[in-house]
Amino acid sequence: MWAFLHKMASPRYFYKIASSLVPWFLTSGLLLMVIGLINGLFYAPPDYQQGDAFRIIYVHVPAAYISMMAYSLMAFAAFVALIWRIKIAHAVIVGAAPLGAWFTFLALLTGSIWGRPMWGTWWEWGDPRLTSELLMLFLYLGYMALRASIPNLAQADKLSAILILIGAINIPIIHFSVEWWTSLHQGSTLLKAGGPAIASSMLYPLLAMIIGTTLYFGSLLLVRTKAEVINREKHSRWAKKMLLGNQL
């Protein structure tokens, strides 16, 4: 496995492996998402408390999960890039940022739509989970703004990696905000001691959606990282050989 990871650090092998993985991840992710959505929308029984509005969970939870996972991935990649100086990790951060921002926006939007019938309000400013999720959206946007404004690539890489690491404190805050403070948002359902507190007929579509969205996110991450990698490696011989064929 270490040999595989070592190989992945090389831009050329990463590009090759990513190109072969993208169709698998994308198709399996989309398939799982379709299965999860159809089951969740039409076949899961209505909740006794929330009626049919709980079906938004099949969209809101995967989006929120991806938003936090993408940031954790970016924080880990920033750590790897700064400590071990593995350059491809910077490309991964660049690739993950727009996707994470979109999913954070989606999580906020679907959460707000869900909150309107359930809590009676589109938004609640005192709520810790809503505020920290919004903060995470600002962190994504701040990262992209900082990158765009520093002309030197190496400096931009390192400084924005520092920014990502500083903002990483937000992830445990979002996750534990429902435990530490009183919040409108409900507590943990899946990762509880004693097993998930949700019926199986509702749980399985949710798991399908989560896994499907993760695979889908993975495929788009590979696509965007591929673009970033080829952009950084445009002076290398393997890029020339790949793009121009054998017309040397």
Binding site: G126, F138, L141, S149, I150, Q155, I162, L163, N170
Partner: protein
């Protein structure tokens, strides 16, 4: 009393602190402009909103806190850019003293020259917003922690952007998300005191946030300064 030739950490801190304080004193207008901005805008709100006394006491803490943060952000731009412009920053980075220590000295000098006047001016604003004396004391306590935390976090934002000209908006954009918890707790603590609840938990949180920022901000700023001045 044996005099040693070793340069102690404390002397390095003192030297940097004194140098920065004197530099700020040499340009009093740089210090006064954000203060005047703070006073004028917070004083302008009651004119614009035309509110009753009850409404003023309710909206006062929030407005004062937001304006304090905004005017403090104005002072942050001079934290490293002045030294970077005339080349002193390279000497500071290359000095034998640990860079995080010198950064901490710069931050303390910045707080001394920009945060302390803000805290001293704030009772006047408190009176404009019809606050009682004990509420003003709570406000001073929250502003004390808040301005120091803002100095610490703002130095990270300023150090990340030294290689960019006209980076005020970007620094604000980077710093504000991390400052939101302090803003929330600061404004709400004053509001809680006005309604009679206990404020000590809010002050504990703000001091904890300060300590947390103190523990990583000098190191993060030092790393960013080294990278940014390559």
């Amino acid at each position: 009393m044996i005099k040693s030739n070793n340069i102690s950490l404390l002397s390095g801190f003192n030297a940097m602190f004194r140098r920065d304080c004197f530099q700020y004193l040499k340009n009093p207008s740089q210090l006064l402009n954000p203060l005047i901005f703070f006073v004028m805008i917070t004083a302008a709100f009651p004119f614009a909103i035309n509110s009753s006394k009850l409404q003023l006491t309710q909206i006062g803490p929030g407005i004062i806190w937001v304006m304090a943060i905004l005017s403090y952000l104005l002072t942050l731009q001079h934290l490293y850019s002045d030294d970077a412009d005339d080349g002193c920053l390279d000497y500071i980075i290359l000095s034998p003293q640990p860079l995080p220590l010198l950064v901490l000295a710069k931050i303390c000098a910045h707080w001394f020259s920009s945060g302390l006047p803000l805290i001293i001016i704030s009772p006047i604003i408190g009176i404009i917003y019809q606050m009682q004396v004990d509420t003003i004391l709570v406000m001073i306590a929250t502003l004390f922690f808040g301005t120091f935390a803002l100095s610490l976090i703002g130095s990270i934002g300023a150090s990340l952007t030294i290689s960019i000209n006209n980076s005020n908006i970007l620094v604000s954009l980077l710093v504000l998300p991390i400052m939101i918890p302090i803003l929330i707790f600061g404004a709400r603590t004053i509001g809680l005191h006005q309604t009679g609840s206990t404020t000590i938990s809010g002050l504990y949180f703000m001091s904890a946030y300060c300590m947390f920022a103190l523990s990583f901000s000098p190191f993060a700023s030092a790393a960013a300064l080294r990278i940014g001045s390559e």
